[in-house]
């Protein structure tokens, strides 16, 4: 049952992620991005990480909303003409090289899985993934990375403000 749900969610996530990049219109790309994020959120539920699940929904729903607004405000609302041009030799070569790398990586992952027999799902302790557990870990074991991340986010925010405000008075 778990495998079925996981496969479904993974397929949806991968398919929607592909559709994000093949869309011609940025709004549709953003829409498929939401579907991808939603499917990932579903996988978090499977992992019993409820707090991470809902944070994923809140953060990404909000973030993609901003992408939407950018698209609507900055780009033309009409459908853009097809920008497709036949690929040159350099593009084909790069694509081939990257797909070989990806295939090798996939092969290695599968091989590793074959060597190590599956040990079944690791059992989780009671209270795993609850707000209390996550909060306690964030403010004890992972306090330093947590604070560093906040500072980095703050720096990014200040930078965005400076860039957006052309004339500082």
């Amino acid at each position: 049952m778990e495998l079925v749900i996981f496969t479904g969610l993974a397929l949806v996530a991968a398919l929607a992620a592909m559709l994000v990049i093949v869309q011609r219109h940025a709004v549709y790309s953003a829409l498929f991005l939401i579907i991808t994020m939603g499917a990932l959120a579903g996988i978090y539920i499977l992992l019993e990480a409820y707090f991470v699940w809902i944070v994923q929904v809140i953060v990404y729903a909000g973030a993609i909303m901003v992408v939407f607004l950018f698209v609507i405000m900055l780009l033309d609302i009409r459908r853009e003409p097809d920008p497709w041009t036949p690929p040159g030799r350099g593009r084909i070569l790069t694509a081939l090289l990257l797909s070989v790398v990806l295939l090798v990586e996939l092969g290695m992952a599968v091989a590793q899985r074959l060597v190590l027999p599956p040990s079944g799902a690791p059992s989780v302790a009671g209270g795993f993934g609850t707000t209390q557990t996550v909060g306690r870990l964030l403010f004890t074991d992972y306090l330093f990375p947590f604070e560093i991340t906040s500072v980095i986010l703050l720096v990014a925010m200040v930078g965005a403000m400076v860039l957006a405000k052309k004339r500082l008075t």
């Binding site: 709004v27 829409l31 939401i34 409820y50 707090f51 699940w53 809902i54 944070v55 929904v57 809140i58 729903a61 909000g62 909303m65 901003v66 939407f68 607004l69 609507i72 405000m73 609302i77 609850t130 707000t131």
Partner: protein, 340 residues
């Protein structure tokens, strides 16, 4: 297994049926209350005192011609009403509307009166509510109409701005209750304390978090696009805002989403600040419904009384007044918790 499944199904059907009925009758109550405030009669023709008016309206909307303008982004245009109404209804899944019941001894085991109680209930409601913006923005964008687009953009700017203060306003409650589960939050409000040793006051969080409640309710008005924050659908400026191009049942879905959202934010306010289902005597759902109705009445009262904000006023009020106040409330609540 089968028994829990049946209990769950019955609860879902009852809650969502009741919610749909409440949404329909909110329109009747709103028209009646506003009519009374303006010294009119309101709907009187369909049924006694117009009681069947919502049903007549619903039937009429269903049989109206469903127009789809030729210039719209078709897929998104069709999707937007559902994107708007589904989050509005889903959020109710975690709201506890009563203690436990045996239905007057009919059931062997007491059944808890909420659909589900998840560990992150408060965050769930906020997360789902933030998804509701997509319906409005996409409707505005896909309609390919200046008024719709302006309405959609206004709405998203408003929702994003006020969501910040709304989230911060409940942090005080979370600190006091020590949980994100809505059932736990209600249970934390049980009991009384004595004010000056003589006046009994319930331990509802509105008494220890008055500022938090005020901020929450103001933001709730803005989040549901209600007067005096109803700029996304300001008729005098934008025709009808984001739903200008919609007709028939699709228009009705936006309308229902707005009322369902009103009921949800009122239910959440009741749960977090007014002690939820808690009351001195009598069945608990009655207390819950009474409190929710009181808040809904406030919504209507404000609409009948207050003029609309100007857009710049709305933005500066949200960011320069409400947000600092909400932050102050967080700091104050944290200090209070440290002291106690």
């Amino acid at each position: 297994m089968l028994e829990t499944l049946i209990v769950m199904l019955v609860k879902i059907v009852v809650v969502f049926g009741a919610l749909l009925l409440a949404v329909a009758y909110m329109t009747w109550i709103e028209r009646k209350v506003i009519a009374d405030i303006q010294v009119r009669l309101g709907p009187m023709r369909v049924g006694p005192h117009g009681l069947l008016q919502p049903i007549a309206d619903g039937l009429k909307l269903m049989f109206k011609e469903d127009l789809i303008p030729s210039q719209v982004e078709r897929v998104v245009f069709l999707l937007a009403p559902s994107l708007s109404i589904v989050p509005a209804f889903i959020a109710f899944a975690v709201i506890p509307f009563g203690d436990t019941t045996t239905l007057f001894g009919l059931l062997a085991k007491p059944v808890a009166l909420h659909i589900t109680d998840i560990d992150v209930g408060v965050l769930f409601v906020f997360g789902v509510a933030s998804l509701g913006v997509y319906g409005i923005v996409l409707a505005g964008w896909s309609s390919n109409n200046k008024y719709s687009l302006l309405g959609g953009l206004r709405s998203s700017a408003q929702l994003i701005s006020y969501e910040v203060s709304m989230g911060l306003s409940v942090v005080g409650v979370l600190i006091l209750a020590g949980s994100l589960s809505l059932v736990e939050i209600v249970k934390a409000q049980a009991g009384l304390y004595w004010w000056l040793g003589m006046l009994p006051i319930p331990r509802w969080f509105i008494f220890s978090q008055p500022l938090g409640f005020l901020i929450y309710f103001t933001c709730a008005l803005a989040e549901t696009n209600r007067a005096p924050f109803d700029l996304p659908e300001a008729e005098t400026e934008l025709v009808a805002g984001f739903h200008t191009e919609y007709s028939s049942m699709k228009f009705a879905m936006f309308f229902m989403a707005e009322y369902a959202n009103m009921i949800t934010v009122s239910a959440l306010a009741t749960t977090m600040f007014l002690g939820g289902w808690l009351g001195p005597i009598g069945p608990s759902p009655v207390w819950f419904l009474g409190k929710v109705f009181l808040l809904l009445f406030l919504f209507i009262w404000f609409r009948a009384t207050l003029p609309r904000f100007r857009y710049d006023q709305l933005m500066s009020f949200g960011w320069k007044r409400l947000l600092p106040l909400a932050l102050l409330n967080v700091v104050w609540s944290a200090l209070w918790a440290l002291r106690g």
